[in-house]
Amino acid sequence: MKKRSRLVIVLLVVVMCGAFLYPTIKWYCFVPQATKDLATGSNVQIKEYARGQASRDLRTLKELVKSDANASVPTEYDYLKATAKANYKASKEKVPAWTISTLLRGFYTEQDLFNTIENHYRSNLMGLKTLSGKALQLGLDLRGGMSVLLDADVAGYEEKSGKAPSSSEVTDLVNQDIEILKNRIDQFGVSEPEIRLQGTDQILIEIPGASDPERVNSFLRGKGSLMFQMIDTDLTTQLQTYFKEHPSEVYADNGSIRQPSFLPAGKVATGYYVNDDYGIAELSSFVVLDQEVGMDGEHLESATTSTDGITGKPVVNFQLDTVGGDLFYKLTSTNVGKTLAVVMDGNVKAMATINEAIRSSVQISGFNASEANDLAIVLKTAALPIQLTVASQQSVGATLGEDAVSSGLKALAIGLLLVVVFMFAYYNVTGLVADLALIFNFVIMVSVLSAFNFTVTLSSVAGLVLTLGMAVDANVIINERIKEELRNKKSPQAAVKAGYDKALWTILDSNITTIIAALVLSSLGSSAVKGFANTLAIGIVSSVFTALFVTHLVMDAAVTDKEKAKLHISWRKDEND
């Protein structure tokens, strides 16, 4: 290969590493801790935070305009100017000089202004959240947290339903479980948990930050999150008008809905949520509920969707147990004509008008197919379609994680230093070339790890350390070869050329076999071992690359055009030319 093309490839790799590492560097060095905490929250938390901030800002702006309408706009609200300008243009008005009052007049309604502010906060945090997803993340064993692997209890399901489910049926059931757990786990708070299907019948849950297995058990059991409550129609209308007139009064700073003072005791204001296209529950309107619970969801036995035989419209059917049937009959018989709400975790998920007194078999109608499906899922949430058992569970407290990070980093730094010094001590200047390759190799590894979204676990730190030692191997093979050629009285230039040529296949053969071992290892289930294997495989490829391209370039440059140039490959005088 020509030297020039080798140089181009090396430069390309450098650029690539830079691009891969950019999000990581930006996230860890340029985002303040407080913002990081906010951005790593769940989507729901971010939404609540944005709402709270928007409420506060709206109040501040209104006070500002009251105290001095012609004051200049504080710089933190500069972002509003763009929207205001667009609005002025859209209504074909001249864009005025910016003061608080002209800025506010740039918005059609107070709600419009509120939405713009909320959107600003939200998109800002969502952008950072995307950035954090691209940055190199520490694994649960290093920052504390827990991961739980759950098995579907197929035998138990068979016993209960009387037939053995096929493996695709099991996967369907497990997927339904995942949806339900996702809903339940939102109560867990802190950082965004990850829940995903593993294989065909397992669920992996990873919760960074929190490490309390008891809490996982509680949401696996998942009791008492579903309620049937009556809606107060008059107060609901009153609340909706009030909130429409006073957008800044809707949310508290933490994003929760405020309880206006006109609500009497025993009534609560809450939101009616509908799942949006992304499956995130979106607030669609406000509702006032009777605080008293009509019936607890634990009495629910099953829920299905079907189509009404006469109208052809989708309906949701659910069965209640005997106690639940009595309760429900009492509730519906006293409230005919009123509206019943299905409330999950304090949020209204569905509303239905009671036409007649019902006992155990209930049918709700009046929505489209996807709404019916959503409601059925909500109702089923009271019980998992297939029970889950803990297959394996690992949780690490934050203190231990911190200790592991510091000892891992220390080991890495000392190991790197020892190898670098040793290479210089043995190979003189050529050793420094190998050291350069080693450090470059390290950068490549970290950037590839972050590009492929691998999390850094303790075992991948072990992989990094090990690769440090093994990475210089390719250079050792080459250097030993060059030394030999020099001993055979070749010129430095010829020796370098012969050294690289002869070492090429030795290096490839010996590393390909190690890669085989690493790849086999990475296909083995355990995630800790996987992290190690991935790091090892990346390290091997990049060490071969740095040896064959980077050091080759430097060594060529060192001996080119200087037939008499000395090659400092050893501290012994007789081996240096």
Partner: protein
């Protein structure tokens, strides 16, 4: 060549006897005591706990929501209310003792602090399970590491009622960190075993003095599938490597390198059995890495053998092998040394599985270097000689048949 070649082939019996004796030691140890199976391969619950005195308890009586988190010996208090988010950070530099910490925290409105032991150091704050904690009227206890005198026997006797329990001290005895392993009985679940351990420890040492740092649970189904997967993966790796060398070199090379690899694997397993190290999935990682590593060495030497055979067609094979081993010796030593240099800090500084992994790797690099220099070439020589003999015999038979 100025230097004399190392007489590998001549001394072959010494190497083989040495390897055989070491393998035998491992085998005997395996037969007598088997492996100390880790949690990955023997279902159960592993828990790392630290006995540490409670320093303060913190409660919150205000109307807002308060969260307490602990990171790098700094306690952060976050109060979210209708009027915004207030955060207070208390680090160990500004508040060196627990008494300082308590008086500072108590000044935050709504926070009530109860001091148990003000002399403890803030820098030693521990955050185990339950943190970040949401504060309420029921106070949350915060523990601080301190040197203590509870012995491993006391911990053992406190858990005696649970049956099959293994306990180890982690780090210095005064740190009071213990690793507890409990096997599973039928019908045990993760939560039942865990609560049994914590309640036993709580009764023995006081509920507020036990901090759970880490726990791992492996169910019976998972552990057996992992064991099967590990064995399969090692066999698959060996088979793939065999095929690769067969294609790139020759059959004799492939077989002799696989023999050397088996030696490494069994010797490492013997070492693990003798030292009573826990066998876990990181052990499998160490085994496979050593397979890759030792093979790397072997191939560099075999590559040299192949090259020398081409250069010197008339030379005797044993002499060629000796020469190749000698030529590769400085490379082999260098690369073993650099690998060991990199791992030694890990073996000293890390703890738990990773420490064992590093120690196993150190041993493995040593063994791998030995086998690729002194065992694989010897077997290569034998197998090649055998093949040559058979060929010659066949040729002779043909010649006889022709007559």
């Amino acid at each position: 060549m100025t230097k004399k070649d190392i007489p590998v082939i001549k001394n072959r019996w010494y190497f083989i006897i040495l390897a055989a004796v070491l393998l035998l030691v491992g085998l005997v140890s395996f037969i007598i005591s088997g492996f100390n199976r880790g949690i990955d391969f023997e279902s159960g619950l592993g828990m790392r706990v630290q006995l540490a005195p409670s320093g303060i308890s913190v409660g919150y009586t205000g109307a807002d929501s308060a969260k307490l988190s602990i990171a790098s010996s700094t306690l952060s208090l976050e109060i979210r209310g209708e009027n915004g988010v207030e955060t207070h950070a208390f680090d160990s530099v500004a508040y060196p003792t627990v008494a300082d910490l308590a008086s500072a925290m108590g000044k935050v409105s709504g926070i009530t602090v109860n001091v148990y032991d003000g002399t403890l150091k803030t820098a030693n704050v521990l955050s185990g399970y339950g943190f970040p904690a949401t504060l309420s009227e029921t106070p949350v206890v915060i523990n601080f590491a301190n040197s203590g005198t509870v012995t491993i026997d006391q911990v053992r006797s406190s858990l005696a009622s649970l049956g099959n329990v293994k306990i180890q001290t982690v780090g210095a005895a005064a740190d009071q960190v213990f690793q507890i392993r409990v096997g599973l009985n039928e019908k045990d679940t993760q939560s039942s075993v865990e609560s049994a351990i914590t309640s036993a420890l709580d009764t023995a040492f006081g509920a507020d003095n036990v901090v759970v740092l880490q726990s791992d649970f492996v169910g019976p189904k998972y552990s057996s599938s992992l064991l099967r997967g590990s064995v399969v993966s090692i066999l698959v790796a060996l088979a793939l490597i065999l095929v690769y060398i067969w294609i790139r070199f020759r059959f004799a090379y492939a077989i002799s390198s696989i023999i050397a690899l088996c030696h490494d694997v069994f010797l490492l397993l013997g070492f693990i059995s003798v030292c009573r190290f826990e066998v876990s999935s990181t052990t499998v990682a160490a085994l496979l890495t050593i397979i890759g590593y030792s093979l790397n060495n072997t191939i560099v030497i075999f590559d040299r053998v192949r090259e020398n055979v081409k250069l010197d067609k008339a030379g005797s094979f044993p002499a060629i092998i000796d020469h190749a081993v000698t030529q590769s010796m400085s490379r082999t030593l260098m690369s073993s040394l650099t690998t060991m240099l990199a791992i030694i800090p890990l073996a000293i500084l890390a703890s738990g599985d990773i420490k064992l992994f590093a120690i196993e790797m150190l041993f493995g690099v040593f063994v791998g270097t030995f086998s690729s220099n002194f065992l694989a070439p010897v077997f290569l020589n034998w197998i090649t000689a055998g093949q040559a003999k058979r060929k010659a015999a066949k040729a002779e038979a043909k010649a006889v048949a022709k007559k």
